[in-house]
């Protein structure tokens, strides 16, 4: 065993700490805490609330179609705890590629069809329910 200097031992400890942080962050991301109740999906068309779906109360998956003003359609599938746009006739299909959302982190938007699906975790307060959690992003 060769002699390690003090700074090398410190570096080793810091390295172990970093590996622990890395692993715990991976675990936090891969295994999200399930929000058992209070998940509501708000579907907005042209800024007007079309409907609010209580995702926790959904027993069986179902699909429905939303019509836009310019004749654009989005087919939405609702599953227990998550919601997604599974097909759309917009040119980019960004909304379709986003897949299922189950948290209020990022909404699904279909800009050509003026459609926004925002999840609201209504466990907190109902007064600010229509405001998004973040209203400014700066870098």
């Amino acid at each position: 065993m060769k002699k390690f200097a003090a700074y090398q031992k410190t570096a080793f400890v810091i390295g172990i700490l970093l590996i622990l942080i890395f692993l715990s962050c991976m675990a936090w991301i891969i295994f999200p805490k399930p929000h058992s109740d209070g998940l509501t999906a708000d579907i907005y068309q042209d800024g007007k609330l079309l409907q609010s779906i209580n995702l926790s109360a959904v027993a069986e998956p179902y699909t429905f179609t939303v019509q836009g003003e310019n004749g654009g359609t989005n087919t939405i599938e609702v599953r227990p705890g998550s919601i997604a746009v599974i097909s759309a006739d917009c040119p980019d299909k960004i909304c379709v590629h986003q897949g299922f959302i189950s948290t209020s982190l990022l909404p699904i938007t279909c800009l050509p069809n003026h459609l926004v699906i925002q999840i609201r975790e209504s466990a907190t307060d109902k007064e600010t329910a229509t405001e998004p959690a973040l209203d400014m992003i700066s870098y």
Binding site: A6, Y7, Q8, T10, A11, I14, G15, L18, I21, F22, S24, C25, M26, W28, I29, T103, S104, L105, L106, A133, L134, M136, I137, S138, Y139
Partner: protein, 177 residues
């Protein structure tokens, strides 16, 4: 402050500003606010190795203020200031602990504390506990970008610094020893 040292520090400030400008022109690949490469920390690391804490602090403050005036809103100034100061403090402490070795560990520690500081002040200002959900993503990106930044600083220190300054003593004293 001697003229040569002042000029060199001003050059480093300009370098940091240029790096920051180019980095802010890169479109955000990951849609999480606060994720960025943090390449300007390369300059901070190099300065920490070659200059005193006060000099690094001056350059950091000048870079943050100037970049906020050129590019940002007043609120982003507060975020950058908090993040930058936390980063500098943590990097200084880690550098002292590690006696100047293993720059990439210093830079990772700095990147982590930068993101923590920004997240913390975002939480204080917006009072929305939802911003804390970004914590694991920011930590991961901090570890990765800190590693990259540390490697860049290591190679700059090894290959570029002897070319910039004539000798090690030349840097600190400013050329009049």
């Amino acid at each position: 402050m001697r003229i040569k040292k002042l000029t060199l520090l001003a050059m480093f400030t300009t370098l940091a500003l240029i790096i920051f400008t180019i980095e802010s022109a890169i479109p955000p690949l990951i849609p999480i606010p606060g994720i960025k490469l943090g390449l300007a920390n390369i300059i901070t690391l190099v300065l920490l190795k070659n200059y005193s804490f006060q000099d690094t602090l001056w350059v950091l403050l000048a870079r943050i203020l100037l970049s906020a005036f050129f590019f940002g809103q007043a609120l982003s100034l507060l975020y950058s200031l908090m993040g930058g100061l936390c980063c500098l403090l943590m990097m200084y402490l880690t550098n002292r602990l590690l006696k100047g070795h293993y720059i990439f560990l210093t830079s990772i520690a700095g990147a982590i504390s930068h993101n923590l500081g920004q997240l913390f002040i975002a939480y204080l200002i917006t009072a929305v506990p939802g911003v804390l959900v970004y914590l694991p993503f920011l930590m991961l990106s901090a570890i990765l970008t800190g590693f990259f930044t540390g490697l860049c600083a290591h190679f700059i220190q090894r290959y570029l610094m002897p070319a910039i300054a004539g000798s090690q003593s030349d840097l600190k004293s400013g050329g009049d020893n």
